[in-house]
Amino acid sequence: MKRVFAALAAALLCASGASGVPLPGVNQDVIDSDAMPPKLSAFGLFHAGSPRAPLARIGYTLRTPLFSDYTDKHRYISIPAGKKARVLADGTIEFPVGTVLIKSFGWPDVNEGRPVETRLLIRRASGWVALPYIWDADGKDATLALGGRRVPVRFKSPDGQTHEIRYAVPNKNQCKECHSLNGEIVPIGPKGRNFVLDPPGSEHFQSVYFEDPAALKPTMPQWDDPKSGSVESRARAYLDVNCAHCHNPAGSASNSGLFLRWTDDPTTVNYGIGKRPTAAGRGSGGMDFAIQPGDPDHSFMIYRLESTDPGIAMPEVGRSTVHKEGAALLRQWIAEMPKDAH
């Protein structure tokens, strides 16, 4: 039976792009079933006993990624043989049934850099399904954690600061809280404007898995690279990736009226400029507006990003540390706004 990984491996390993030897592994029957296997190995997405050696060889990165407690993320895609993804007009990527998006989370200085957890987003005939797996102590396989778990870790962030946190592996429902659009699960990260194949691969390789590889031209800036865009555009990219999966009219925070998509007008009340708290509770920090132009210290968007208190912090899930560098970018953006902007 011909499998996607085989073709992929062939594409990567053979300069000519000619067919190679199929590898054993990816279990498409399990992927396509309704099963929630207790062990990650049941999917055959990784070489046995090696969390760093995925068989699904379409790797990708994002120009601007979601912050998750300074984890290094490794992202892969498994697309069934003979099927292709395509980029839609609005930039979202439509993956065929049988696709698995695989994302592993870890830190370079935790468990010798092995991932702590791997999350799967599986496109089944009935829709997307999110499954969280936590790697076993011996690092050879990972175990389903439907109910999520807190994992104590100690790591250094890029600025050298040591963090000791109880890292939250999300439960299945929390996966959906972020990956929700009109109540259905959808991928968040892979959008044409933010998606980069890694390694890039040949045009032939891309065309094996994408109907229109030319549409995979990332246009969004890289949040931490000043050469890639202005402070404003990088701040908006950061908000799109870190907030807009909930803060959009069909997302988990639809009732807030705060909408932070890349495509939203950044001068309006609904983008936070002069927006009063709706259901913020303690998240208002005693301030009147989400964004007070020119004054980040009186913008409760900043207050919420810089807090780790569950009654205050945004995002509500997926963060036990403050992303100092991200908050600094947003501070600069707000500080540089004209004070009479609202």
């Binding site: 439907l146 807190r150 929700s180 009226g257 009063r276 259901a279 208190d309 569950p310």
Partner: protein, 402 residues
């Protein structure tokens, strides 16, 4: 033959609505993995299932969530011998329990000391909150979570026989929803006892709202996906001694509610307040105001319209009006302002109760409050709009609480 015509479709409907293998998943407090087992039960439950909480206390470090339609969460009681979900050590999530599926029934357990909201349901149609206790046990504190019971963006909401204490915003808050009943519940020592906000078609009746900052609020706010709040009836409630100093974090709209408010109506249309018993509300038993903040929403209507206040019993009120200039006005009125307070904005504001009404005479909501020219007003002359019909919930919801 008629017999067959009727019975066959009915039988089919019953089979479809009741999964063949509906089951009870029993979970117990205590044990190292009690929290994970509880959350896992809420994930693996199937439509029709009951997740039954044993008696005892779960000390939870993370929020719980339910995303399966038609599930019941049933505890063994709300008091200290019942089923207690204690979030004092919560490290993550914006609420204690989040429900995002339809036809869910929550009954007979307690949620305590969440860092954010107590129980939130979003886009959860036909939800029933019944015999629940949501409480911040140290009483009013600014560090308490915002909302106790918090259904939002839902159609058909029933809140029945719940007890909520200590919310730093609203004890029972229904937002951006339609067809709502809040009844037979007790809201104590919250900033707002019960609040209906940006919602359509609600009955709030037979509740006790006491020792809050404000007892029952009917609000409409700008720049939200659903606005234009209307058709709300507030009746047969006891709204007394709402005297707790406002402890809401500044910036939130309820931080502006004066201590000692009974019922407060802001920027809605077709609101009826009748057959309530008011007493000991130091600012006013009933307050009717426009939304007086700056806003940039051309679709927003900031004025109260077609408001009827009738047949209420008024005890002592107005003796400690907690708004700027209130003390001077009270002094001018001989120590207390009248029990009904209107800012002067809006249309068809009708008060048929045989008590005094004080108008601040500020018909334009952009006029600052400092320019108030308070005077007694007679609002009994207008023609009341036709009475609202009352809320009917789907029979299956009512059956759950019978």
């Amino acid at each position: 033959m008629r017999f067959h015509h009727f019975v066959l479709p009915l039988a089919v409907a019953l089979v479809a609505a009741t999964p063949a293998a509906a089951k009870t998943i029993k979970v117990e407090a205590g044990g190292a993995d009690a929290n994970e087992k509880l959350q896992e039960a809420l994930i693996v439950a199937e439509p029709g299932d009951v997740v039954e909480l044993g008696a005892g206390t779960w000390s939870l470090s993370d929020g719980l969530s339910l995303d399966v339609a038609g599930v019941t969460i049933r505890g063994a009681g709300t008091d200290e011998k019942g089923s207690i979900l204690d979030f004092a050590g919560q490290q993550g999530a914006g609420e204690g329990l989040l429900v995002t599926s339809d036809d869910v029934f929550l009954t007979n357990f307690a949620v305590l000391n969440t860092k954010g909201d107590g129980i939130k349901s979003k886009g959860a149609d036909r939800i029933v909150y019944h015999k629940l206790r949501v409480e911040w046990t140290a009483g009013p504190k600014e560090t308490n979570g915002a909302y106790g019971i918090y259904p939002v963006e839902s159609t058909d909401v029933l809140v029945d026989s719940v007890y909520v204490r200590g919310a730093s915003d609203a004890g029972i808050y229904v937002g951006q929803s339609k067809n709502i009943v809040v009844r037979d519940s007790i809201a104590v020592e919250n900033v707002a006892g019960i609040e209906i906000e940006n919602s359509y078609d609600a009955d709030v009746h037979d509740n006790i709202a006491t020792r809050n900052t404000g007892g029952i609020l009917v609000f409409d706010l700008p720049s939200l996906p659903m606005q234009g709040g209307h058709n709300v009836r507030v009746f047969d409630n006891a709204v007394a001694d709402n005297s707790t100093p406002n402890f809401a974090p500044k910036g939130n709209i309820v931080a502006s509610v004066p201590t000692g408010t009974g019922v407060l109506i802001m920027a809605n249309r077709n609101v009826e307040v009748f057959d309530n018993a008011f007493d000991q509300n130091g600012t006013a038993n009933v307050m009717i105001v426009g939304y007086r903040y700056e806003h940039k929403d051309p679709k927003y209507q900031p004025l109260p319209r077609r408001i009827v206040v009738r047949d209420n019993a008024h005890g002592k009120a107005g003796y400690a009006p907690a708004f700027d200039g209130g003390a001077q006005i009270a002094a001018a009125f001989g120590g207390a302002i009248p029990p009904v307070l209107w800012d002067g904005a809006g249309e068809n504001v009708i008060v048929l109760d045989k008590v005094g009404v004080l108008s601040l005479n500020l018909p334009d909501v952009t006029t600052p409050r400092s320019e108030a020219k308070p005077s007694p007003a007679d609002l009994s002359k207008g023609t009341p709009p036709a009475a609202l019909p009352g809320i009917k919930l789907p029979a299956a919801m009512e059956a759950k609480v019978q």
